[in-house]
Every structure is written in C-alpha cells, then in structure tokens.
C-alpha cells in the first residue's frame, strides 16, 4: 500500500474538489435513502390513520410535509446524481492530467538506468494501463469507501436519535463487519493474485510474440500445435486465477449485502421491543429498517474496487520503479574541456550496465572546428559510443570533457505535433526565416512550402505521413538549428538517396563552418565531409 503514497498525495492536492464531489455523492445517496425511508414512514402513518378514520375516529393527518418531502427527495436524488456525475468526471479528467504531467516530470528526472527501460512498445503500453489504473482510484476506491463509512455513521446516528443508543451500537457492529468484509478483507484475500496479474500477462505476451515471430521455424519443425497448446494453457491458468479473484469478490459482495440486510432485520426486531413499550411509533419503526436497506447500494460498489486494488498497487509500484529520481542530486554534468579543445576523451570504456564493455581504452581529442568521421559496421558499438560522447551513457571508466553538444541520434524521433514545434525543440528562439533556411538546407523547403499549413503542418504518427528519409531530414534540421558548438551526427543520411545526400552534404559543410563535428556511419559514403576518419573494430 505504501506504493500508493506519492500518487495519493497528488490526488489530494485538490482537497476541496474531492470534498465537494464527495458531498454531491453523499447527497445522492442520502436522497435515495431518504426517499424510501420517508415513503415507508408515510405509508405506515397513513395506514394507521386510515384504520382510525375508518373506525370513525377524528385524526389530523399532515399530508403536506411528508408529501413535499417525498417529492423533494425524488427531485434531489436525480439532480444530485446528475451534478455528481458531471462534477466527479471533471475531477477524474483533471486528476488524469495531474498524474500524467507529474509522471512525465518524474520520468524526465529519472536516472538513466531507469530510463534504459523506457523503450519498446510493450513498455509503453504497460505504462498506459498502469497510469489508467491510478486515474480511477479516487472515484472507484477512495470516494465510495469514505462515503460508505460516512453514510453508515449517519444512519447509526439516526438509529440513536430515533431508537436508542444500544440499537445504534448493534447496528454499527454489524455494518462495520460488512464494511470490513467489503473492503479490507477483499483486498487482503485478492492482493497477491491481483498484484501478480499484470506480470503474468506481460510474461504471456512475451511468449505469444515469440511464438508468432518463430512461427515459420516452429511450423517447419511441426511444433506450432504443441507450442500453441502450451500458450493456451498459460492463458487459461491466468484466467483461472482471475476467476478465483472474481469469485472471492462475488462472495464478499454477497456476504456484505447479507450483513446489511441482517442489520435491517436486527433494527426491525429491536424496534419492536421499543414499539411494544410505546417508546417509538409505528411509522418510525418502519423508517429505520428501510433506511438501512438503502445502504446496500452504497456497499455494493466496494468489493469489486477493492478486488482490483492489488493490481493498482502493483501499477503504482512499477511506476515508482520506472521513475526513480537520479541519484546524487541529478545528472553529472560533463566537464568543459580546456580552451582550444572541443572534446577530450581519455581512456574511456563504453558499456551498458550488466554487459561486457563494447569499447575500452578509447581516446579522442578534438580541437575546435575539427571534423571527424567514425566508421564502424552495425553492431560495432558506434551508437553506444555516440551516446557516450553526447552524455547519454556515462563512460564506465575514463575521463570525458566536451563543450555543449547537439546530437542527432541514430533513431529518428519526431513528435505528434506541428513541423514548427518539432523544429523549435532544437532552438525555441528560432525565427520563421531561420526555420525555412534550415529546411532549404535539408532539401525540404519546397516540400513544406507546398503544404497549405506550411510550418504548421502536423507531422508525426497522426499527422501527414513523412517518408523515412523526410523524417530523418527534419530530425537533422532540428539538430542544425541548435546553437551548441559541438555537433554529433549518428548516421545522418539514413534513408536518403545518393543525390540528396551529396547535395545536403555540401550545404552542411558551410552551415557547420565554425562548429566541431563528429559524424558516425557504417560506411564512408554515408559520412558528410570530414577532416579525417577513425575506424572502429
């Protein structure tokens, strides 16, 4: 449960909104209970009066107050329900934003080892479902549980005022048991399978993906049936566990409902004692049990929500793990090199944590304005070296000093946003003229001048589709806009044909005139102009 703390703190940043939303739910539930209880009171009252009237006795029956009350509750229940739903939905959408923005900030500040997991569609889709689980915790768990407790106390108070303290206590005892069974007990009994559920599903997903990727090989060996059956068994086992959780939730719901009903029976039975000695009237005797019956609706939401709490906690745990803040007060800043140097790497080793080093004893010294090419076949550790030089991957040993740098990663990353927004990442202060200038440089000026929205053309996954080569050039343009004196380009020309490559290469030479450039590629034809070239083994 401790895993939830940071997220609960985030949710409770809006205490008044939560309280008001809660009050609206309370008003809805109280109106519903009031409607039935008052109706019961009214019917009993009129039944007694009716008999007296039929016997010829004169009785004054006040029809207006209860009649008005009944009408009021009927309307207030509807209005409160509507307002409650609108208001609380708005709250949920706000919390959704809060949680996403906060999580994004935490991920941005997370340590690199945490971030190395930030890759792959699987991780992203799990992240989505984990965040979704947290979004609803207020409306599913916190608010209903708090209100069930609150309204139970209200009903107990009613019992105390109308009946007696002893009845109120008896009532509280039974409903408390119902409350515990519907909440904490469900959580405790389903915690482990619920907690495991997401991990099991991920393991299964990995296995299914492998099955599909190896389908041809498995088929050739005549094993798709067997392996498929194994997958089916895994899925079935996962679902069996889920059925188990569902059943437990169902039984808890049934039993807590039973206890609520029993407490109504208890109130009726105890009320009879009071009725017989004349302490309470018939209508009042009817009012309380009916009010208690209304509690069932409040309690019915709880078991399912608490049955899912285990998986919510595991979601929170995963998010906390993925967003561990960087140790030692943030990232270690790369030192500035001596005056005339742009980059000085001495005896550095490049390795990913937990793996054999990719490069060792690597030395590189660049004077300002120098252009160097680094060649290596794919898998030679070229991109890891680029990451290290750019500061994404700290060297496992050795010293690295360099000027601030702009880095074109091997992977092209564009955002679902306008062309302008994507380019301005490189330099938020860039003018339109500068943007067009750099687009001309990468041969995209005409391409976007033709678009009706020009710089505001929406690009990325949901926007107008760019070809791989176009996307690469936008990413390159973004790096070129950046004023940093050192530029590191990893495979800058991926997806470009030879003509475009040579045109851009020439213009690059002038654009980067006063800058220091490190270019990395798999072959010399993929490098821009360089002063000299290093080969990686």
């Amino acid at each position: 449960m401790r895993e939830l703390t940071p997220w609960l703190a985030l949710i409770f940043q809006r205490p008044w909104r939560l309280v008001l939303g809660g009050v609206l739910i309370l008003a809805t539930l109280a109106s519903g209970i009031g409607l039935l209880a008052l109706s019961g009171w009214f019917i009993t009252d009129t039944a007694i009066a009716g008999i007296l009237l039929a016997a010829g006795t004169q009785v004054a029956v006040n029809l207006y107050v209860p009649g008005g009350g009944i009408r009021f509750f009927a309307v207030s229940r509807t209005v409160a329900r509507y307002l409650e739903r609108v208001y609380n939905h708005d709250t949920v959408l706000r919390l959704l934003t809060d949680i996403r923005v906060a999580l994004f900030r935490r991920l941005a500040g997370a340590s690199r080892t945490g971030q190395s997991r930030l890759s792959g569609a699987q991780w992203l889709s799990r992240l989505t479902s984990d965040v979704d689980a947290l979004d609803t915790i207020y409306l599913r768990v916190i608010a209903p549980a708090a209100l069930a407790g609150g309204i139970t106390l209200l009903v107990a108070l009613l019992a105390w005022v109308l009946f007696s303290g002893a009845v109120a206590l008896g009532l509280l005892a039974i409903t408390t048991l119902a409350f515990v069974l519907a909440t904490v007990a469900v959580y405790v009994r389903t915690r482990e399978p619920s907690y495991r559920q997401a991990d099991r599903q991920e393991a299964l997903r990995t296995a299914v993906v492998e099955h599909i990727e190896g389908f041809a090989e498995l088929r050739a060996a005549g094993r798709t049936g067997r392996h498929g059956a194994w997958l089916l068994r895994q899925a079935h086992q996962m679902n069996s566990e889920q059925v188990d959780v569902d059943s437990k939730v169902g039984w808890h719901q049934a039993i807590s409902h039973l206890l609520i009903n029993l407490s109504a029976v208890f109130a009726l039975w105890a009320g009879y004692g009071l009725f017989e000695i004349g302490a309470i009237s018939g209508p009042v005797l009817v009012l309380l049990p009916i009010a208690i019956l209304g509690l069932a609706e409040v309690y019915s939401m709880l078991p399912e929500a608490f049955g899912k709490l285990g998986s919510t906690v595991s979601s929170a745990a995963r998010l906390n793990r993925d967003a561990v803040p960087a140790a030692e007060g943030g990232k270690t800043e790369t030192a500035e090199p001596p005056d005339d140097l742009a980059l000085a790497a001495r005896d550095i080793a490049v390795r990913h944590e937990g793996f054999a080093p990719i490069l060792t004893h690597f030395d590189l010294t660049l004077t300002r304005g120098e252009r160097i090419g680094i060649l290596g076949r794919s898998g030679s550790g070229k991109s890891s070296l680029a990451d290290t030089l750019a500061g994404l991957l700290p060297p496992s040993r050795g010293d690295l000093a360099r000027q601030p740098c702009a880095y074109l990663t091997q992977q092209t990353v564009l955002f679902d946003d306008t062309l302008r927004a994507n380019l301005e990442l490189g330099n938020p202060a860039a003018t339109d003229a500068e943007l067009w200038q750099v687009l001309e440089l990468v041969d995209l000026g005409d391409r976007f001048a033709r678009e009706p929205e020009q710089l505001d053309t929406w690009i990325g996954n949901t926007g107008s589709r760019l070809s791989g080569g176009e996307a690469r050039r936008v990413a390159l343009a973004r790096v070129l806009l950046n004023p940093a004196p050192l530029v590191i380009l990893d495979e800058p020309f991926t997806g470009l044909d030879a003509d475009t490559r040579s045109r851009i290469s020439k213009r690059l030479e002038r654009w980067l005139e006063r800058k220091t450039v490190v270019s990395l590629a798999h072959g010399s034809e993929a490098l821009p102009t360089t002063d000299h070239v290093i080969h990686l083994e």
Binding site: L35, G40, I43, T46, A47, A49, G50, L63, I70, A74, T78, R81, Y82, V86, R94, L96, R100, V101, F104, R105, A108, Q115, R117, L118, G120, A121, L124, T128, V131, V208, V209, E210, I212, E213, A216, E217, L218, A221, L231, L232, A235, H236, Q242, V243, D246, S247, A254, L258, W269, G273, E276, L285, P289, G379, A406, Y407, V413, L414, D416, L425
Partner: protein, 563 residues
Amino acid sequence: MTAPEQRNVRRWLTELATGNRRWVQGAVLTGTLAGMATIVQMILLARIVHLGVIEGVAVSELTGLFIALIITLVIRALFQGLQTRLAAQCSKRVRRTARRQIHRHWQAVGPVAMGQESAGALAREWIDHVEALHGYYARFLPQMQLSVIVPLLILALVFWLDWLAAVFLLLSAPLIPLFMALVGMGAEKLNQQHFETISRLSGQFLDKVRGLTTLQLFGQTESAANLLALRSDRYRVVTMKTLKIAFLSSAVLEFFASVAIAVIAIYIGFGLLGYISFGPADELTLFTGLLILLLAPEFFQPLRTLSQYYHDRAAALGAGTEILARLREYPAGSHDLKPQPATDTTAGPANLITLTNVCYTHPGDASPWFTDLNLKIEKGHAVALTGPSGGGKSTLLYLLAGFLVPDSGEIRVFGQPPGKAGFGWLGQKGFLVHGTWADNLRLTSPDASDIAIDAALRRVGLGDLVDSREDGIYSSVSDQGRGLSGGQARRLSLARIFLADYDLILLDEPTAGLDSASEIFVLESLRKFSEAGKTLVFSTHHHALLTLADRVLAVDTGEVADA
C-alpha cells in the same frame, strides 16, 4: 461500426457462448432465484410490519417469520455469490474458445501471411482483445436477461396486489426495451467519448515519453510537460461539454425511477387514508402498500445495474470487431485456406523433390505467379535459387515448405506432401524465446540431451558465448533483450537445425545482412549440412553460397530454369 458489421459481431459473440450455454443459463437461473429470494424477503418484511403495527401481534409470536426472513436472506446471498462464480466460469471458458479459434486461424493462414503482420498486434488480439470479452460474458450477458426477468416477476406480483400501482411502474418505464435503448444510447456515447479522450491523452503522453531522450538532449522537458498539461486541459473542456449531455440519459432513468417511487408512495398513502375512491385503492392494507413500496426500487435495480455494465458490451463489440476482421481476413476458398490435397494418391519417388504442373497465384493477384511449373530436385543436393528480388524465390521456398498451397498441380517432398515431415527452416530473422539456451533449442527438439545441445551451439560458433555465461546452456540467452545480435540469433536458429537432423533444409537469404563473423559460421554450417548429405534449398545472391551449390536455379517472374 456499421449496422451489419455490428450484427456479425453480435452473432459471433453469441456463437462463442453456445458451447458454454449451461454456464450462462446457470448464471441467469441463480440470478433469477436471488431475485425471487429478494421478493420473498420483501413479502416477509411487509408481513412482519403489518402484523406488528396494525394487528398488534407481539414480537415473541413473530419469531417464526423472523427466522424465515433470515433464512431467505442467506439463500439470497448464496445465489448472488453463485451467480458471480458461474458467470466468471462462463467468461473463462468463452475466452479459451476464442483463443483457440484465433490460434487455429493462425495455423490455417500459415507463417507467410502472419509474417506480414506485426507480432505485437497479433499478440494484442490474442491477449487483450480476448480479455476485453470478459465483462460481456461475466456481467452484461446474464444481466441483460435478468433485467427483463426480474422486473417482470415484480410487475406481475405488484399487478396482483394493486393493478393501478403496477400501471404506475409500467408508465414510468414506458416499455422496458425503449428504456434500455435509451440507457444504451447514452452509455454507448459516454463510453465512446471517454475512450476517445483517454486514448488521445494517452497518445499525447506516450508520444512525449517515447521522445524523452530527444527532449532531454535539447533541454526541453519542462516545456513539454507544460504543453502536455495545456493540451490535456483543453481535451477535458471539450469532453465535458459532450459528457454533460451524455449524462442526461442516465439522469432520465434515475428521474423516472425516483418519480415512480414517489408517485407510488403518495398513491398508497392516499389510498390507505381512503381518499381514493376509484380503482383497487380501497383494498390496500399496510402489508400490500409497504410491499409495493419495497418492491418498487427492486423493479428498477436490474436496469440500473445493466446500464453500469454497458461499457462491457461496448468493449466486447469493439474487440470482437477486430478479432472477427482477423478471422475473416482469408475467407473460405482463398489460397491460404485451401485444404491440403486429400490423400497421397500418387506418392512420389522417395529420393526426389518433385513439382508437377504447379500453378500458384498470390492472393489478390489477377494472373498466376507460377504456371505449370515442373521441377525435380535430387536428395542430397544443395540448390541455390537466384534471381532479382521479387522474382519468386521466396514464393518457391514457401511452396516447398508447405507454407503456401498451389492452386493446382502437385508437390512431393521425398514422396510426401510438403510440410508433412519436419524440416529445417531459416528465415531472414532468427528467433529466440525468453529463456535459457537449452529452452531455445528444446523448443524444436524437446528430447535433445545437454551434450547434443552444447555440441550444436559450438558448431554455429556460439560456444564461446555460452562458456562466458555462468550456467552454460542453462543460462539465459538474453538479459533485458540485449543479449544477441541479429547474426547470433540466426546462428541460434541454425543450431536448432543441427540438433534436429532434418533431411531437408530450406533457407531464405541465409547470409543477408550478416556481420562477417556470423557469415563465416553460416557458410561453414551450410557446408557441413551439405557434406552430411542433407538436401539444401536456399535463395541467395551471395557469391560464396553460389559456389557451395550443386545446382543453381534462376527464378525470375515465375520462370525457373537452370542457370
């Protein structure tokens, strides 16, 4: 979703349940019994109140009724619990059936068609889309029937007690189907809206997370966070506008339920006072009056529950549409689902691979790819297929593998239909599973000994890598998915072929895109296979591979000829 499409999906959802009808019926039966217990509970409650308050019966004489009431409550709880259990069981079985169907479909369409889809997308259908059916069978389906049965039971009883009160109930819910449609429309719209907002927000969020490194490189994370907040807030405002209207429909249900209860309470009250001189009102007693009042909310409860479950239906329909689209992707009669030629009418020669008058047309193509192709490959030969890319080399390999079935003609591999006996296959991507080296090799040869596995790994040059790991062949192949390069993965696949000792080995561009170390091992392995008398058929442009071949076939636009 178009109407006929939705009808198809609904029919499919119903068909899925046919094998498990007992469970659905069981859930509905227990739900109905729980509903009946509720009615009995209310009868007993009203009876006790009537006897005590009106007839003045002493509480000590009501013990029997109290005990009956408690027993009824326990029975109600039992049936409620059972209902959940049965419904959950039903959903579990249905999901297994759905998964089986999808897997059977995979088997039928074969590796070629599957290779054109992203593995992640197919896995999502198999796992998440099938999981999305859960709520439909576990909650919505039984509740849909219960929301008709239970209100009708109550209505019948109320009608018998006081027909005018029953008319009020009926009027407030003019016609149950109409009411349900109203609820459904609202709930569906709501669900759709909510889903759209969430997925848009998720999209924005994921987009930024995916590019986090880029944002950090440019020092723009804070502005991205602010943008995220701004965009999310704008979505919220837009969504709330539509939600305000969508919520109205559920408010209408709530309003009718509240008003019906209020009207009934006031009608009964006035009736009991004798103020109503028409209809059945003068026969009302506290028992009947209170009972009608207690039953009124129970009349509406199943409908309200159903409206809560409506999103389950929407989710199942959405997921079902995608699954069904997948299952119908290759409708009956298309090439990939053609039945294998029935029996070995002509068992071919056991020492030859023969293609006799083979015609093959790609699905969707107008003209055939191969027309009357005749080819003989001798056992033990190494045959290279060359030719321009797109010339049909892979198609020929797929036909030999049995991954594709010819329109007409006959293919025999050592006398048997293709794919009948196991063979070695090496695609352009190697394949490995999350597990140890041994797991990976036993995937295709479950009975292989440790020594054989170790030897097979050494033959493809992975011995050093295995030795460097602590637990040898029982150490994990990849940690965090970063363990093997593409070339190493392909060598792992080759090791499987060494281990299994197949007669026929088909390889699609075995050296394409490999680093030099892996290339050497692959060439060496092929030479060893060839020396061991295996029949090799491979497509390639690689010079070294061509020299290794006993025979080179040029494959170009459906023509196959010795080069």
